[in-house]
Amino acid sequence: MEQRWPDWIRERDDPRIAHTRPEALDDITVLDLSYKNFAGCCCSSMLSEFGAKVIRIEPPQGDFIRSCTPYGVLYKGEGLNYLSEGRNKHHITLNLEKPEGREILKSLAKQADVLIETFSPGVMDGWGIGYEQLKETNPGLIFASITAHGQFGPLKQNPMPDYDNITQAKSAIQSATGEALPDGKSYDECPWAVPTKASPWIGWAQPGTFMAVGILAALHWRGISGQGQALDVATTESYARFDDYAALWYQETGIVNERFGSLDIACWLYCFAPTRDGAVFLGGLRLEMWQAFADMLGKWDEWDAAGWTTLQVFMRKEEQLKWAPLIFAETRKYTSEELVRMSVEYAQKGRLAPITAVVAPVCSPEEAMKDANWLDRGIFTPVKDPVYGEVIVAQAQHKMSQTPIRTRWVCQPVGHDNEKIYSEYLEFDPAKLAQLKKTGVI
C-alpha cells in the first residue's frame, strides 16, 4: 500500500468533507409523532443523520419533552436535550385530537415510508390512525411504536408513562450498578452506596437506536417483499437486552447479580482505580496484560506474576477483593496522566512489550469536550444553525467513506416548517393554513 492506512482513510471519511458526499437514506420519509418520549426523538434523529427526511409532528403547543432540560436551563427558548435531538427535522404542528387533524395525518402517512409513535397502546387505533388503518392506503408503511411495555402482552393496557429512570430501574441494570453498602454501615452513613442509574438518558437513547436498527431491517425487507409492517419496542426490554451474563448466571445457579462497585463481576483485570489526582480505568482481559500491568507497577517479583497461569482464579469474588486494595495502594502513588503514559511506554520497552494493560483516564465531561483527540475527529464541531447559531452537540460519530452522516441544523421552534411542509405535501395555501391555525388544528 502506497499511502499509510490512517491517512488514506482520513482523506475519505473525515467529517470535514461530509457535505460533499451523498446521503444513505435521502429517499426515505419519516413521520415522527413522538410525544413526551425521548426514545422516539432519538430514533428519528438517527435516521435523519443518514439523510432521511423527518417530519416531526407536535401538538400545537409543542412537545412536553422540550421542557425536559437540566436545571430548567433554556437556550433561546429551547431545552438543551431537545436542542440536541431536534436535529435535521422539519417541525410541524398538528392536533391529532381533532378529526380534521387525523385526516391530515392520514394524507401525510400515505406519502411516508416510516411512522414513529410513542402513545399508549390503543391510542392511535382509537384515533383511527393505527397500523391496520394506515396500511389500507399505504401497505408499504413501516409503523414503529415505542412504549414502556409494548403493544401486546399482559401489561399492554398499563398506562404508565415511559421515562428513562423507570426503564433503568425495571431492566435490572440499576440494581446491579453502584457501590455495595460497606459492612456494618447503613444508608444513612453511605447514601451513595445504593442502586445507581446512569446519568445520560441511555434508557431512552438505546431503545430509540434499537428501533432505528429495526426500521432499517424492515426497509430492507420491504425492498424484497414490497411489504411494510408494524414494529414494537418496549423500552425496558430494549435496555435489559444489554444485560450480558446475569440472566444465564441466575438460571444456572440461582445467583442474583448484585452491586460490585467499580470492580467487575465478570472480568479481571477490569476496574476503576484511584490515583493521586482522580481515577483511571485499568483493563487486562488476557493473562499477559495483567502480568504486564503488575510488571509496570514494579511488582513482577513481589506478586510472582511469572507464576500466574490463568485469569480464571482472579475473577473470583474473594480474589478480586484481595487484589483490588493491593493495586489501589500502588495507583494512588501516581497521577492519572503518569499511569496512562507508563502503559503507553510499557508497550514499547516493557518486558512483555508490545503487550500492555489498558490504562485510561476517567474524565469529567469537561475534560472529554476539551480533549484534542475528539476535537480533531470532529465529534464536537459546532453546528451552524440558522435559528440558534453555533451550537455544540455530539455529531459525526459514524465516519463513512461514501455516505457520511451530518447534522444540518440542531433544532427548530414549534411549527417552524408548517408552511413549507404543508405546502409541499398537501398543497395547503396560506389561507388554508390560517384557517387551520384559527381552528386549533395546527
Binding site: W5, P6, I9, R10, D13, S67, C68, Y71, Y75, L80, N81, L83, E132, F152, P161, Y163, N165, A169, E179, W192, P195, K197, P200, W201, Q206, P207, T209, V213, L216, A217, W221, Q227, A230, L231, E237, S238, D243, D244, A247, L248, Y250, S262, D264, I265, A266, L282, G283, L285, Q312, V358, A360, S364, A368, R377, P382, I392, A394, Q395, K399, V410
Partner: protein, 442 residues
Amino acid sequence: MAEETWQHYKEKKNSKPAPLKGIKVLEVCTLILGPAGPGFAAEMGAEVIKCEIPPMGDTCRDLTPFGYFFREQGASFAHMNTNKYWLGLDLHKPEAQEVFKELAAAADIIEDNLRPGVMETWNVGYRQIKEINPSIIYLSKNGFGQWGQYAEENRPSNDGASQGFSGYSRLSSFPSQPPLKSRLYICDNYGALMGELAVLAALHYRQRTGKGQFIELSQTEAIMRAMTWVWPYQQITGQVAMPAGNRDVSVCPADTFRCINDDFVTIAAPAPEEFRGLCTAMGRPELADDPRFKDHLTRLKEDNATEILKIIAAWARTKTPEEIEKLAEKHGFAAAHIWNTREVVEDKHFRARGFMTEVDDPILGKYFDHEFPVMMSKTPPKIKWGCRAVGFDNEYVLKHTLGKSEEDIKKLYDCGALGKWADVPTRRPPSNWDGRAGLHEA
C-alpha cells in the same frame, strides 16, 4: 387494530421469514464491541460467519461471573454469539487469508474490532477486499477510530476505557464520590448497536447504487452521542456537567428514593397531570399549585428541585415500593421498584411477549435469554441457536459456502490455516456433546 397485528406473535415466529435473510456477514471480532453487532444481525436472519484464530479464539470466552461457567461456556459469550457459523481460521497464514478472501468476495458485510491497520497486515483490509468486492460494506469498530492522536499511538481500548474517556462514568456517579463504572458493558454494546445502524444504512444505499463503503466507529464517540444535553450545556453555560446520583436533572421530579425497610423506588412525575397525581398520592394536593412547583421549568430549578425531592423522599420513607407502585397506577404517574435479574427472567409479561424467550439448543439444552428487542410483525427476529466451540462449523462453511473438497480441507488443516478448539473448557464443546448435535448439514 393492534390485537390483530400482534395476535399469536410468539407462536408464529418460526413460520415467518427473517428481515435480513440472505445477507452475508463475516466477522473478525473479539470481546463484546465486535461480536455483539453481528449478533444483532444474525438474530435478524443474516448469515454470520464468525472467524476466530484457533485454537483459543475469542477472548470473551474467558469472561464469566466470578469465574462461573454457563454449561461450560462463558456466560457473556453465550449471550451475544447466537445464530452464527463458526470458522477457525488463522489469518496470520497466507492460505487462511485466501480462504477469507474467497468468503469476502461473496459477502455483503465485514466487521472487525481490531486495532487500526491489523486487518491490512493480514492482507484482508478494506483496500485489499474492495479490489475483489467493490460493493463490500466494511465496518471497523474500536476505541479511538482509525485516525487521530490516540489511534496513531496504537492505544488499546475497551468498554471501561470508553466509559472513562467519554465522561459517562464521571457523570453517572454521586457528587463528591469516586466515579462509578456501569455494571453494563454499555459502551461496547451501544457501540455495537450503532455500528449495525450504519451498516444497515449503507446496505440501503448499496441497494440503490451498488456502491459499498468503509465505516469506522469509535465506541467513545458513539456513547458521547447519547449524552445529549451535556455538550450544549457546557458550551452555553460555561459550567461543567456534574454528577447528581440518581436524580435526573432534566426531569422533575425524577429520582430513586429509599422506602421503608431499606428498599428503593424510582419515581418520575414531570408532566402537569403526573405531578398533580403524585401530590395527591402524597396527600399534599396543594403542592401542585405551589409557586415553586407550578410548572416543569420552575420545578427544575436547583432550589425548587431540591425542595420537592426532599418532600417526596420523606414521604417515600414511610411507604413500601409496592404501595407507591399502586398509587402511581391509581394517580397516573410513573413508579417502579428496583427490579433484579430474577424478576426480569421470570416476569410473566416478558415471557408472554417472547422477550424472555426459551432457547432450545441442540448442544446447550434449554434456557431463557433476551430476544432481540424489536418485535417485527411480519419478520420476527429470533434466537435459533447458541454459541459453539472454535472452528465448530469449519467443514460446513468450506464445503457448503466455498465448495471445497475433502482434500482441500485437509491441506488447510495441515498447514494450520484451519483449526479447531483447544481441549480446554469454553473452547471445546460441552463434555456431553455426542459429536453430531448442532452440526449443520453440508
